[in-house]
């Protein structure tokens, strides 16, 4: 069994390496001169040239990549042109914020999606099923940034229940950083007021982010549960008199969750993508906004770092989902038949 996991992690590392090459190529193909871009048109030529040397732009392409890779392994990702600070410092500041949002929306997505899927199967073709299907269509159909705008409109102005900008209320001082995630740090600090404020700042962006994934999960759960409900073993269990609820929540749910989990892992990874726009709208200082600005300002080091982190997150989510699938499906666990 272990051999299988090692082989799988090996392929993922390979993918990561491939990703770093891809990102490096994209970074370097940028027309225009990043050094000139950073220092502005008026900077004298020799200063720009010095920066160019410092950024190894003069060396051949492959050596630049090798140097960059060695640096990355030593956590030295070079300096960000925008913030003038080592990229690693920016990441330490912004990454926890985005992780906070993404983990909450992932939680909503998984629990909500599966719950809605079960409900719409149980009350199939009833009014409740209809309502859930409409919600899931709306959820799937509208991009996160449209929901963001609608939420800002409703909660920002009409009925100001939840804050729609920033990470903390102006009056609240940020907690001593332990994990970098305000909600957890406040809790560790025992500061309930702070915790409530940080949480309320998180709520709207998180919900805007997760609606699409939630709807997708609900739809996949419903369709795979409906399909499995006609299989012989479910009919046999009905014939044996096993109560409807037990069949629905155990014998039908467990096999039906397998397709949902693989879709969920894709959608959770996609949260980071959508976070780009949502953080922009809620001007929430997360890693995605930082990455967005890096791309717009062609800040190579920052951009490569953010993309690599997204790749790593994607792979961790994939490994987690493989583990959950292995738990759900004994054939995968015991035969080591990984799903491609």
């Amino acid at each position: 069994m272990l051999v299988n996991w090692l082989k799988r992690i090996g392929t993922y590392l390979l993918v990561l390496l491939g990703l770093s090459i891809l990102v490096f190529i994209i970074g370097r193909v940028i027309p225009g001169d990043p050094a000139r871009q950073a220092l502005g048109p008026r900077a004298p030529e020799e200063v720009v040239q010095a920066l160019r040397v410092e950024m190894h732009l003069d060396k051949p392409f492959v050596t630049q990549y090798v140097l960059w890779l060695k640096g990355a392994l030593r956590m030295d990702l070079g300096k960000s042109l925008m913030t003038r600070r080592p990229v690693i410092v920016d990441i330490k500041e912004f990454l926890p914020a985005t992780l906070e949002i993404v983990s909450i929306s992932a939680l909503f997505m998984v629990l909500g999606g599966i719950l809605l899927g079960i409900l719409s199967t149980k009350y199939a073709d009833s009014w409740l099923d209809g309502v859930i299907r409409v919600i899931s269509y709306l959820g799937i159909v509208s991009p996160a940034f449209v929901w963001a705008i609608i939420f800002i409109l409703i909660f920002g102005y009409m009925l100001p229940l939840f804050p729609t900008t920033g990470r903390l209320g102006l009056s609240i001082i940020s907690p001593p950083t332990v994990t970098g995630m305000y909600t957890i740090d406040f809790l560790l600090n025992g500061d309930i007021v702070g915790f409530k404020d940080a949480l309320s700042h998180l709520l709207l962006p998180a919900i805007a982010l997760m609606l699409g994934g939630l709807a997708q999960a609900a739809r996949i759960t419903r369709s795979s549960m409906t399909e499995n409900s006609t299989k012989d073993y479910i009919l046999a269990e009905k014939a044996y008199g096993i109560p409807e609820r037990t069949i629905l929540l155990t014998y039908l749910l467990k096999p039906s969750l397998i397709p949902t989990v693989s879709v969920l892992s894709l959608d959770i990874a996609a949260l980071f993508g959508n976070a780009f726009l949502v953080e922009q709208l809620f001007n929430y200082p997360g890693l995605s906004r930082y990455g967005m600005q890096a791309m717009l300002n062609k800040d190579l080091n920052a951009m490569s770092a953010v993309v690599m982190i997204l790749g790593i997150v994607f792979i961790t989510v994939n490994i987690l989902s493989d583990m959950v699938v292995a738990y759900l499906d004994p054939r995968v666990r015991l035969l080591g038949g990984g799903n491609e």
């Binding site: 709306l138 799937i140 990455g291 997204l310």
Partner: protein, 295 residues
């Protein structure tokens, strides 16, 4: 049994097929709604100069007298800060959106599809592993981010943003066709074609590919919606069609600054995006039901 009879019989078979497919498609009323929405969007987009109330507002037209008027009888969806009619601009933006959708799919489906066919049929040897590992690398990033990174490099135009989406979208089709080909290549009709001595070209394109068309068309219809959505996200951050040419993403992002007072400037383009994607999604589900085999 001359050609005329052949026509009659095949026509009857075909007619029977179409009637059966339409029944399965329209079984779920929502799919019909989707079809209607998509047709409406197409008509509005293509015939925009005729249908739109203020076709001239599409270009660099400025009329401060009429700026920021809420929806009324003349401007059904109100006007923006430059006094341009939002509805006409949305109709024009439909055309941009559809060109983006079709343009991307026309590139991505054949490219991804053929790679998927090759990788799937020759699964096990190096060409297949190479293709699939490269696909994994491209899929390791959410499509929006890859598209952002690529379009950030190029000058922001509609064409470049389409290219950016192509770069991040082709692997989805490779993986779809790869998945199907690896199972289809073991079907008996493929085995018997091989044993008869049929050429690899015949086997890939006449035996395997026709059986992938069902899920392929379903995915293409759904993807029309997603591609347009991604395109809107790109233009939302200014990487798509440049002003004054209207695109839904830019209209939403410009309008967002004027919330909540002039809410209509941002809300109507946002709703327009939802309507397009909703239409294609509903239609895609209908096609999935239509092509699903079991009665």
């Amino acid at each position: 049994m001359n050609n005329k009879q052949e026509k009659v019989v095949t026509k009857r078979d075909k007619y029977e097929n179409i009637k059966q497919s339409w029944y399965k498609f329209s079984l779920n009323k929502m799919s019909v709604v989707g079809l209607v929405v998509v047709c409406l969007v197409a008509i509005l987009g293509v015939f925009e100069p005729i249908i739109a109330p203020f076709p001239t507002h599409v270009g660099a037209y400025v009329n401060f007298k009429e700026a920021s008027i809420p929806p009324n009888t003349t401007y059904w969806m109100g006007t923006d800060v430059f006094g341009r009619d939002i509805m006409s601009r949305i109709f024009y933006a439909f055309r941009g959106a559809l060109t983006m959708g079709i343009g991307v799919l026309v590139v991505v489906v054949p490219l991804g599809g053929i790679l998927g066919l090759i990788a799937g049929y020759w699964k096990g040897n190096w060409i297949s592993t190479l293709i699939m590992r490269v696909t994994d690398v491209f899929l390791a990033l959410p499509p929006l981010i890859l598209a952002l990174a690529v379009s950030a490099i190029l000058r922001p135009t509609l064409l470049n943003s389409m290219m950016a989406i192509c770069v991040s979208w082709w692997p989805w089709y490779t993986r779809l066709i790869y998945g199907m080909t690896t199972t289809l290549r073991n079907e008996l009709y493929v085995k018997s074609a091989e044993l008869l001595g049929a050429s690899k070209g015949h086997i890939l394109f006449r035996e395997i590919l026709p059986n992938c068309l069902g899920p392929l068309f379903t995915k293409m219809t759904l993807d029309m919606g997603w591609v347009i959505l991604t395109g809107a996200s790109l233009s939302f951050v200014g990487l798509g069609e440049q002003p004054p040419i209207p695109s839904l993403g830019t209209m939403v992002s410009d309008g967002a600054k004027f919330l909540p007072a002039q809410w209509w400037i941002a809300i109507f383009p946002a709703l327009a995006i939802m309507v397009i994607v909703l239409g294609f999604n509903l239609m895609g589900d209908g096609i999935k039901d239509m092509l699903s085999s079991e009665e």
